[in-house]
């Protein structure tokens, strides 16, 4: 469909031409033009103007005083002094005084300038003409001709070989930059599928840093654990914890609805990944009566008595469970790694 077939748009009469420049004598809506300037009191009364002058000077003087006060505060108040200031409560004396004095010093400059502009500078409104942004047709023709001449002189259109190889070179050269980004990080490989847990690793209580024993865990309590051998000062502590963090609760075996969960538990003690399967926040809220745990970030809620099934919120799958038992010393230990990746889901998770 060619553009000729489209019916011409009926555009409204342009503003400013309808009533303004070509005023129809009997158009009641015609633009009466700029209203006459109404003088302010400062324009006619020199005493009022003097008052404004003094007000502006006063504001600027206050600013100077505030800056002096700022420097004084910096010197006088110790950095750790806490004072009570109504209604803000206990605040740092230095922060409060520096902020107030700096703020006032700045504010008074602004207030002075604005008051000066409003009362003493001319407030006569004038009109300046606008000019169309679009170039005149002659200018446009000249530019197009110049471009055509330049393009012809370059021979770019005629010498296809140069053109094609140049585009090829320009297209390829950024690849070097992309390649350089390769070492930003390692490939994922199986990193997200494995954690530090393995058969025989004891569960270490995050509070006591001692191995957990079944009798430590009572019904209604939520215990956090990490794998034996992970030290808090290890360089990869955070990264390992991001996958291995565990939460442990004890549920009456008869209350466990999920058969596999009961089998993977030790006398009703179940260990689940602490890392939410939504986007990876650590889960930390536990409701004792219902055995529900809640992720405080996005409120995904899991039922720990039913295979950590998602019962509310945006998480897409249950929390992985770690199979646990008791070793010869009577401590809780893992009977293997998680059987599925912990934390947020990803494409290769399957």
């Amino acid at each position: 469909m060619s553009s000729q077939e489209i019916p011409e748009e009926i555009l409204p009469v342009e503003q400013g031409t309808a009533h303004g420049a070509v005023t129809v004598a009997d158009d009641p809506f015609a633009d009466p033009g700029l209203p006459a300037h109404k003088p302010r009191v400062q324009d006619i009364d020199e005493r009022a103007a003097r008052r404004s002058e003094r007000a502006v000077a006063f504001l600027f003087t206050l600013s100077m005083l505030a800056t002096v006060a700022f420097i004084a505060s910096y010197v006088v108040f110790p950095v750790d002094q806490i004072v009570y200031i109504w209604p803000f409560g206990h605040v740092s004396a230095l922060n409060f005084s520096l902020g107030m004095t700096l703020g006032l010093a700045l504010f008074f400059i602004g207030a002075g300038a604005v008051h000066w502009a409003r009362t003493l500078m001319s407030d006569v409104e004038t009109a300046a003409e606008r000019h169309p942004i679009e170039a005149e047709p002659e200018v446009k023709a000249q530019v197009l001709a110049d471009f055509a001449a330049g393009a012809a002189e370059s021979g770019l259109g005629r010498r296809k070989l140069i053109r094609n190889t140049m585009f090829g070179a320009l297209a390829l050269v950024p690849l070097s930059g992309v390649v350089l980004l390769r070492d930003l990080g390692p490939l994922p490989e199986k990193k997200l599928r494995t954690t530090m847990w393995s058969r025989g690793k004891q569960l270490i209580n995050m509070n006591t840093m001692e191995p957990l024993r079944p009798e430590d865990i009572v019904v209604g309590s939520l215990t956090f654990a990490m794998p034996e051998g992970l030290e808090e000062d290890a360089h990869d502590f955070q990264t390992q914890m991001g996958k291995a963090a565990l939460m442990i609760v004890r549920i009456e075996p008869d209350d466990i609805k999920n058969k596999r969960e009961r089998e993977w538990a030790h006398e009703g003690i179940v260990a689940f990944s602490k890392i939410c399967t939504h986007v990876g926040c650590p889960i930390s809220l536990y409701e004792q009566q219902t055995h529900h745990v809640l992720c405080p970030c996005h409120q995904s809620t899991f039922d720990l008595s039913d295979g950590a099934r998602v019962i509310f919120g945006p998480a897409g799958h249950p929390l992985p469970q770690l199979r646990i038992g008791v070793n010869d010393e009577g401590n809780l230990e893992a009977l293997g790694d998680f059987e599925e990746p912990v934390g947020a889901a990803f494409w290769e998770r399957g």
Binding site: L106, V114, P188, R349
Partner: protein, 541 residues
């Protein structure tokens, strides 16, 4: 000494400096065009100024903070002056933020000005953008500047996010973890993106340093360029103005840059800076010392991002946890859909100007601003978009709403899920009706005058209210807006009697145009004839 130089007037020092500069920079030519440039005055024009000034304030305070901040994730044990965290393991980034807050005199103030400035910067950009939207200031020739502004808003969001992630405190680390989980959801390449972003598994030891260079160099560098371009275009296009006596599409009415606008705008910079400094003196923001250092296995309740990221938080919270597992792969729709809707929400408002100009086919320049009521469909669209945005903000704070107002979080989530689709529609309809009502009122005002509030009793006992006719200036202002005619499909056959093909796109355009400018889209403004007929009759009523 030659007499020639003596007879020559010795120029004052200022002029000689200016001469020197002019000889090298050509400043007189520049000043001639701009020194007395006219700027129109309206309170809403200062919203962009707040954005500009807070941007400058953020740069100034940000440079100061770089002098003390250590963008490193090396673990240290804290032995500083903040007692409650003594002996705690933390990253150097967090420790240096504590140092700025407790040991550098004024450091806390600068940190708070920086953070408050960022919140105000984003808020000012948002409101400024809405001002431009609702008054139609985005129309030709300003579409490109609209996009520049939009980009500034989006980049500002990410600069804010990378900035508040730097202290490596418990709250910000949680936000970064959320971002990493969202990145993982990207089909096929999610795990690769995450590994490359964090230099390995989360959190690794790299992201603070990487975010730092993005936060202080890459993004602000681009933004500074965009701000300059934005301002150059404001100067080049000259400012828009509202309709009024003496104001036309071909002029700009106001006061000159030197001295009035310079004093007001320059003074306003100090006002904005002063207010932000005072706010930073009395209102604590992001007290990272109270949150503790980031630990991947710890979290606090009520975790909220800064406000401008709240709508993305809402998307992720209310989305059902859909996951599709097929052929050994997982499509994490529950996270990936919010991740895709997040830019979409923003793009919808960014492309609107192009939709409107496509519907109107208006290729003329527009320098007179619309009153929002006179363009009901646009205004309704804008309000619907804001409603959409704020519904998501509610979703982002669903836990805060639940605890503060004792509501069920389940109910709030379902409310947001439904309102996400329904609320914009309701907002659109309601806004459009309000606009049409206001247009009718304007029409009545023009034709019948202003309600004076004076009741008059006529000799035969009837009570009437006296209406005062409007001044010529008011009459002009209320009737100066343009009214488009709805587009027509045109005749079904051309001049040769052959059936004309009308593309579906053109049909859609005509339909939209009818919605915009048809009978239900606007109230015809009074004509001079109507006005004369009423005013020439006996007795106002």
């Amino acid at each position: 000494m030659s007499t020639a130089t003596d007879t020559k007037r010795k120029a004052p020092a200022g002029e000689r400096v200016a001469d020197w500069a002019d000889g090298r920079l050509g400043i007189y030519g520049l000043a001639k065009a701009n020194m007395r440039k006219i700027f129109p005055d309206h309170w809403s024009f200062m919203l962009g100024e707040i954005a500009l000034y807070s941007f400058i304030i953020i740069i100034l305070t940000g440079v100061y903070l770089t002098l003390f901040f250590h963008p490193s994730m090396n673990e240290v044990v804290y032995h500083g002056s903040y007692e409650p965290l003594q002996g705690i393991r933390m990253s150097e980034a967090y420790a240096s933020t504590l140092h700025i807050s407790f040991d550098v005199r004024g450091g806390l103030l600068v940190r708070q000005i920086h953070h408050w400035g960022a919140l105000i910067f984003l808020a000012a950009m948002f409101v400024h953008m809405m001002r431009v939207f609702f008054t139609g200031a985005f129309r030709k020739p300003r579409e490109v500047n609209w996009l520049f502004g939009f980009l500034l808003f989006v980049l500002g969001m990410f600069t804010g996010f990378t900035g508040y992630s730097l202290p490596d405190d418990l709250l910000s680390g949680t936000g970064v973890r959320f971002m990493q989980g969202a990145v993982l959801s990207v089909p096929v390449v999610g795990t690769y993106l995450s590994m490359f972003l964090f230099g390995g598994e989360f959190p690794g030891v790299d992201f603070v340093a990487r975010f730092y260079s993005v936060h202080i160099l890459l993004l602000p560098g681009i933004m500074l360029g965009l701000v300059v371009a934005h301002l150059i275009l404001v100067f080049y296009h000259k400012h828009t103005q509202f309709a009024g006596p003496g104001k036309t599409n071909k002029n700009v009415v106001g006061m000159p840059l030197l001295p009035v606008y310079m004093a007001k705008a320059g003074g306003f910079f100090f006002l904005v800076f002063g207010v932000i400094a005072i706010v930073s003196a009395i209102a604590s923001i992001n007290p990272i010392w109270a949150l503790g250092p980031y630990r991947v296995d710890q979290v606090s309740t009520g975790a909220q991002p800064d406000w401008y990221m709240g709508f993305s938080e809402g998307l992720i919270r209310v989305m059902p946890g859909w996951e599709i597992n097929l052929w050994g792969h997982t499509l994490v729709l529950g996270v990936f859909i919010p991740l895709m809707v997040f830019p979409l929400v923003l793009v919808v408002i960014a492309v609107y100007p192009f939709l409107e100009s496509w519907v109107t086919r208006d290729k003329r320049e527009h320098h007179i601003l619309d009153r929002p009521r006179n363009v009901p469909t646009r205004t309704a669209f804008g309000v619907a978009w804001i409603t959409w945005y704020f519904v998501l903000l509610v979703g982002g704070g669903n836990d805060v709403w639940a605890t503060h107002f004792h509501l069920s979080i389940n109910a709030i989530t379902w409310f947001v899920r439904i309102a996400f689709f329904v609320a914009p529609v309701i907002a659109f309809i309601v806004t459009k009706r309000i606009c049409l009502g206001l247009q009718r009122r304007d029409r009545d005002k023009v034709l019948h005058g202003r309600e004076s509030g004076i009741i008059k009793r006529l000799p035969h006992g009837e009570f009437v209210e006296i209406h005062e006719p409007l001044s010529p200036g008011q009459l002009h202002t209320l009737t100066a807006h343009e009214q488009y005619q709805p587009a027509e499909i045109g005749p079904a056959v051309d001049e040769n009697g052959v059936r004309r093909k009308v593309s579906p796109v053109e049909k859609l355009r005509v339909k939209l145009s009818k919605g915009y400018y048809g009978e239900d889209g606007q109230i015809a403004k009074p004509t001079a004839e109507e006005y004369k007929e009423i005013t020439s009759g006996h007795g106002h009523h």
